[in-house]
Symmetry: C2
Subunit: 208 residues, 2 copies
DNA sequence: GTCTATATATAGATAGAC
DNA sequence: GTCTATCTATATATAGAC
């Protein structure tokens, strides 16, 4: 497990006892991530973070002069987090389906299995009022995200594990949309286990 | 076409020429809906609406004393809008698939086929900071939404139009998640036609 | 029903001391 | 790197005149 992952999980589970000391800058990114998942980008303030860390707002401006700098850092960290997660596995020994299941799993863990929303949704839902630099970073992430899933779909099709429906890109789009939508729905706590249910439906529709 | 639908579309297409005069209260709800789709609930202010209508903030407070009152009204209007839409059709003569396609179509129209995001996502993505009354209204809407789609799935299963995968509720959850996710993804303008692509994938996975 | 005026709180951000 | 102090803008909301 990578350092950032440890930190993210440590924070999500109560900010305690990983034995690893975090510097303030990382802690800020970590807390901002969580707040964006709960409230969206505009829904958190430097004061919220300052209160949690028991420091002052001005200290946060030292690390991230503008709020959009922090927003960009959150997306970068999230990207790195996923890359690290993937790096943990021996991809050569896995089937395409196992790789896709792994994808669903880390997607779920970043949201604590529905306790929090999808990080990207916290930005996307407000994209009409996001600063340009954030919209660009968001587009950059989503492009990479699409490529990641498209690769997995292509592999599954080549190996005959997945059923072909439209182009691989279209199937990837469908997978991402369903997974993101499920994480978002999980937030209103109406249907426990939405995410797992939706993931099972996606896999079934891909394989049989 | 119902009055509200006319109004909503009129607003979305430039607030002009339906021949129908709207009262201020309806116009406020209309504009708030659009702003929530673009920026989320916290992303718009009474000032934004006042500027568009060329009135003062205080006038909006007359109609909706608190912002959460306006938020609740937006959800109610959206519910009514969908009900009215459904009422336009002769449901007896339609197949289950046609009914589902109709559902996807009005879902798309409320978001101008991807020009705007999903109304509910504008709330859901920020649910961690929503006033209690709004969270309740949101849950009420989503419960109804689920029942609506579940009914359509059940009908399709009974008629043999849809393939069974898990329970009808699980299939409905999957359909809603994918559709909502697609509308949200459409906002970053990266992949033109995401919504239509995803809808086609959903239908294919249901029927073959 | 809309206005002016105002209250109060909080936002993002900067300057400069330690 | 964190602090105090402060600036400026804007948010939600209310009171009372027209």
């Amino acid at each position: 497990m990578t350092a950032f992952l440890k930190r993210l999980i440590a924070c999500h589970t109560g900010c305690a006892s990983t034995g690893e000391k975090l510097d303030t800058k990382d802690q800020i990114v970590q807390i901002a991530t969580e707040l964006i998942q709960q409230r969206g980008y505009q829904g958190f303030s430097y004061q919220d973070i300052a209160t949690r860390l028991d420091i002052k707002k001005a200290s946060i401006h030292y690390h991230f002069p503008k709020k959009e700098d922090l927003g960009v850092a959150v997306i970068s960290a999230y990207y790195q987090y996923i890359q690290d997660w993937i790096g943990k596995y021996d991809l050569d020994k896995m089937t395409a389906l196992e790789k896709l299941e792994q994808y669903f799993q880390f997607f779920a863990e970043t949201a604590l299995h529905g306790e929090l929303g999808c990080v990207m949704n916290g930005f996307l839902a407000e994209s009409g009022s996001l600063p340009e630099v954030l919209r660009e970073k968001l587009a950059w992430f989503e492009k990479w995200h699409m490529e990641l899933v498209t690769m997995k779909v292509k592999e599954g099709l080549e190996k005959g594990e997945f059923k072909k429906r439209g182009t691989p890109e279209e199937q990837a789009l469908f997978i991402i949309a369903a997974a993101m939508g499920a994480l978002n729905m999980a937030q209103d706590k109406q249907t426990p286990g939405v995410y797992d249910i939706v993931v099972r439906q996606i896999i079934e529709s891909l394989t049989c």
